[in-house]
Amino acid sequence: MTFQSKPETASDVAPATVAIVDAWEKLAARRRFYTILGLAILFAAFVASVRFADESNAGHFFDRLPHLFDFMSWLIPKDWNDVWRALLGLPSPNDRGGEEYNFTVGRVPLWGGLYIPNYIELMIVTINIALISTLVGFVIAVPLSFLAARNLAPSNPLRILVKRLMEFLRAFPEIVIAGLFSAVLSIGPAAAIIAITLHTIGAVGKLFFEVIENIDMKPDEGMTAVGGNWLERVRFGALPQVLPNFTSYALLRLEINVRASTIIGAVGGGGIGEALKLSISRGFGAKTMALVLLLFVTIVVVDQVSAAMRRRLVGEAAFVPVH
């Protein structure tokens, strides 16, 4: 701050005050120096990073920038109705063979003339991957988190072990697990489910045991007093307190997992991610539009539903961001 606090004539004030003012100004100057230094370092790192990224990229930023709109132009479908046709699996009048307009391929017949369009089916696959892995991850993470919480862990070495295991699962790259299991279970959603489940265990497990470490221990003391064993203490002393928070975190994880299962799909896990990657790389405007629209709507809906449920479960505390 630059409020001028030094008096005009030093004789007006006591020397102690002058010393305080001097010290304060020195402190402020040092702070300012460190702030500027920090910003300068950040800026230098930024410039260096931009140059590094630009140089090692296949196309360079300023060379490609004028062509950005060329690239966008293929995105605009020649016939906007094709977007709806692609979404609903209806035949297109533009279809001349080839893959750009074969919207009717991949329909899943229900009965009679009813069918699930290909893209909707793929979206269901992706959502199901996210749902089942969140569910299984949740079921496994709950008991693990009780073993990892400082206040309820039955044994200390086990607690450390479980904690490390969770850290490991959280940091381990999901695509490696997906890749390993796609060699075992053949390429498809099963590998994605295992990968996302394992990652979910690590990610929500950490949040869970932090919740448990913050609970009110009185119900637990009550359970201990009446001679409850560990399982009963957890079930009746702790679980009722933490279940709303657990569910809220699991819902938040579901939002993240819908995105994750799309991404893993794009690298070979099946589902809508793969279709999107294919469609973008081949430059199919209508198909891409349809897929982006579908994915966008799904993500918004999942986020909104989960946010509403979380608000009901734990109120505004649900909106403290977690990672």
Partner: protein, 446 residues
């Protein structure tokens, strides 16, 4: 504690009816949720055909691949000529070099060859008979014309096919015997040629010798010093590609850094537009907030795919994808932080007649700075993880390399190396970010 008699109980019932007569939802709600979850699990097991997938999975591959993460093998082929001579051939590009003379393959004076697979397991190859010694017994395999035969019952670790006998020696290797050739696979723990590949002049030299060569040895290559030669050989190791992998890893980190920083720089001013208490036009608030939602919901993957097409594969595309997603995420978080500020300091500054910029600087910034710094660092940390994955769709960084190494199913040791590097980087960034957080905002909790 005394037992309740009927009167006290009725009395309690009238006074606390809501505790004893619970609604249908309270009594069966939990059970129904559990039932629903169970039904959903059954449905998805059917939907993904999980029982069949699990039953038909090649689970033995899991063991084999995991084994390859930490070990390598050499598979010499012993071809038995018609004249009874045994010729030894090593596959090309094997980790022992082009002309290995390993001490575990010994030629005996009678023309047979002894291969030691491990301490107690060995194979002796003679022109008409192969003796496999393992698990405390020696089983002779007779070579008759095109076929290999065992007299009597086969031990459990041997299996016979049409004309070959295959021997499973566990982790240490396996042997496949046919009429005119024997393949012996010997497995070693560790990573082969991790520092120098077989073409390097330093290959297979003990550590002390390499050190001595680097410090005081004669120049192996006239044009450069031994130190630079050693570094060059290491960096361009053809089997491990250290240089390439490290550069790609660095790209991943740069992508996360650049994306998060740019996102923060763009999110900061726009968050003021989105916050109700900073900009009083609710139209502007809503438009900017929906814009943030749009950026976030389109998702990093879609941005990455688009930008990879626009700029070509590489870190530029990845940085751009992270930037756009992060702009939305951080914008939303910052706006929430701004909406939660205490208004009193602002009013105080305003009452001195300060301009809007000064009011924000001294009335708002000190309050929101910890939130902003904390959130940005958290996002940076999680983007280092995210950048690995979007790299696999071509957005640059180590992800693609990882995916390519996995796809061939032959290079699991390289995958393990990259995974270890990623784990180290993620842990370092976790630590760095929480250290920075506690320094900058003076508190370890969020």
């Amino acid at each position: 504690m005394t037992a309740l008699d009927a009167n006290t109980f009725r009395d309690l019932e009238t006074r606390h009816a809501h505790l004893l007569h619970r609604s249908f939802k309270q009594r069966f709600g939990g059970l129904m949720v559990l039932g629903g979850i169970l039904l959903y699990c059954i449905y998805s097991a059917w939907f993904f055909d999980l029982p069949k997938l699990v039953a038909e999975g090649h689970w033995e591959r899991l063991g084999i691949y995991l084994r390859q993460w930490i070990s390598y093998d050499v598979q010499p082929v012993f071809r038995i000529g018609s004249d009874g001579k045994i010729a030894t051939r090593y596959p090309r590009f094997n980790p022992l070099g082009d002309d290995p003379k390993p001490d575990w393959v010994r030629a005996n004076s009678d023309g047979s060859v002894l291969v030691e697979v491990s301490g107690s397991k060995s194979v002796r190859i003679a022109p008409t008979q192969v003796d496999v010694t393992a698990y405390g017994m020696t089983t002779p395999v007779r070579l008759v014309g095109e076929n290999a035969k065992v007299d009597g019952a086969l031990p459990g670790w041997m299996s016979a096919y049409e004309d070959t006998i295959s021997v499973d020696l566990g982790f240490s290797g396996d042997v496949s015997i046919s009429g005119d050739q024997v393949k012996v696979r010997k497995r070693f723990l560790g990573w082969p040629n991790f520092i120098f590949d077989t073409h390097s002049p330093f290959f297979d030299k003990p550590f002390g010798e390499v050190l001595q060569l680097i410090v005081s040895g004669e120049r192996l290559d006239k044009s450069q010093s031994n130190l630079s030669l050693a570094f060059d050989n290491f960096w361009n190791n053809s089997a491990w590609q250290h240089g390439d992998i490290w550069v790609k890893l660095f790209q991943t980190i740069v992508m996360a850094f650049l994306g998060t920083l740019l996102g923060a720089v763009f999110a900061f001013p726009t968050a003021f537009l989105a916050a109700r208490n900073m900009t009083s036009s609710s139209l502007v608030n809503q438009v900017v907030k929906r814009f943030f939602d749009f950026l976030r919901s389109v998702d990093m993957l879609i941005w990455a795919l688009f930008l990879t097409r626009a700029f070509g594969p590489g870190p530029l595309a990845g940085s751009g994808a992270i930037f756009l997603t992060e702009w939305g995420t951080l914008g939303k978080l910052y706006a929430e932080g701004l909406e939660n500020v205490d208004n009193k300091p602002r009013e105080g500054i305003q009452s001195t007649g300060a301009s809007t910029v000064l009011t924000h600087r001294y009335g708002v910034m000190p309050q929101v700075m910890p939130v902003i710094v904390g959130q940005t660092l958290y996002q940076w940390e999680s983007n280092v993880r995210g950048a690995t994955i979007i790299g696999a769709v071509g957005a640059g960084g180590i992800g693609l390399k990882l995916w390519e190494a996995m796809r061939t199913n032959a290079n699991w040791a390289n995958v393990c190396y990259m995974v270890l590097l990623i784990l180290v980087v993620v842990f370092l960034f976790d630590m760095a970010s929480s250290a920075l957080r506690s320094r900058l905002i003076g508190d370890r909790s969020r």
